[in-house]
Chain length 224, copies 2
């Protein structure tokens, strides 16, 4: 990093903040990232992005290497539709991963790749929200990733919330059962480790949540 550029020029900084219509007291993660990208571009300086989930660890080369191999060897691939039911090799590998990582047996046909947890959360909410007419609400264990709630709104579903700071262990189970017993909840969505706080649900909490989801036939969506 070129230290001679620091401290950054106040007038330039203020102009950029004004350009972005940013209020630094209330700025969201995405606005902040965009603002800092602008600064990085302006000053030709790299910033560490502690506000954003880029750990800086390079991806294992096994992925890019295999992508290069397939692109090199299968000339027709880029002009061919993937199979409707998904790529068998990927679905089988997903099932193997779930077995190795979580010790859960799941059929490859039930493993649906998405482009990330945000996409997976969207589809899972869409399905959960249409199982029963009266169950039109996604229950969040907060704090959480705000985009999920925008997805709920996009899908025409309602949001409800339990705050994890005030409800852990038996308190969480009690509060959860009260909500689930209304029949209005189609899914419970949480992240663990939590985004953005890194809070982790304990094994016994996850077990209590699982038992209640089964009892009330509600879908659990975990972003982990």
């Amino acid at each position: 990093m070129n230290k001679s550029k620091f401290p950054l020029n106040k007038a330039v900084l203020n102009d950029i903040i004004k350009d972005h219509e940013a209020d630094l007291n209330n700025i969201g993660i995405r606005e902040l990232k965009r603002l800092v990208d602008h600064l990085a571009d302006h000053y030709k300086v790299d910033f560490l992005h502690f506000e954003f989930g880029v750990p800086g660890v390079p991806a294992d080369k096994i992925g890019p290497q295999e992508e290069i191999r397939v692109l090199t060897e299968d000339k027709n691939l880029p002009s061919t539709y993937p199979p409707f039911d998904g790529i068998p090799r990927l679905k089988k590998a997903t099932a193997c991963f779930v077995k190795a990582f979580l010790n859960i047996d799941v059929e490859p046909e039930n493993c649906i790749p998405t482009v990330g947890a945000m996409h997976g959360g969207f589809i899972a909410q869409a399905i959960a929200g249409r199982r029963f007419k009266t169950a039109d609400t996604i229950l969040y264990l907060d704090p959480g990733f705000p985009v999920n709630k925008l997805q709920t709104k996009f899908l025409g579903l309602k949001c409800d919330s339990i705050d994890l700071y005030n409800h852990r262990g038996a308190q969480l189970a009690k509060k959860l059962e009260k909500k689930l017993s209304t029949g209005k909840i189609s899914a419970v969505l949480w992240s663990s480790p939590n985004n953005p706080t890194w809070l982790c649900l304990k094994d016994e909490e996850l077990k209590l949540i699982g038992l209640l989801l089964t009892k009330y036939d509600v879908i659990g969506i975990e972003d982990s």
Copy 2:
């Protein structure tokens, strides 16, 4: 193709059809593709897929070559989020393409890549359907791609339809204006060249459609 495998065994064929719960008199394009894939796999025989949009022309090597170059040279790419506002190089290239292909000036920031027309049609409907509370209907110039209507339903919007077989030229404009003037139409969606009939709208028809869309502030979505 190994001719000795033909004619295919009737009992095997019937079993596969039964397995797929397929009614050949009413089969959809996707079910048919899946059925034929099953046959191809069983007999180790390649089929030409006239029912499906795979023309069999290999993609230009410029695309895969560049993908291989980037994957080889930028080790951090696979573990890095793309920018929120899109990849500047791709957005600029899209604007250049639109200028060269359609002679239309559009800013790179207004070029939004999607994973295909189906994805583009989904997002465009979602936006169009939320501009005005009373305009909750997507108007289709039929025949069309049935998945688009499933998207409309998914989004909680309504469908209306004008059949192109009975309405062309001035007749189409008259019928279209009658629908648009109700204020209920948020977007008009058509494909030209048409999927699945290859019917093409004439320049003067596209002009009439454009004028009416502008007059009534309705969004046009073309899958072409």
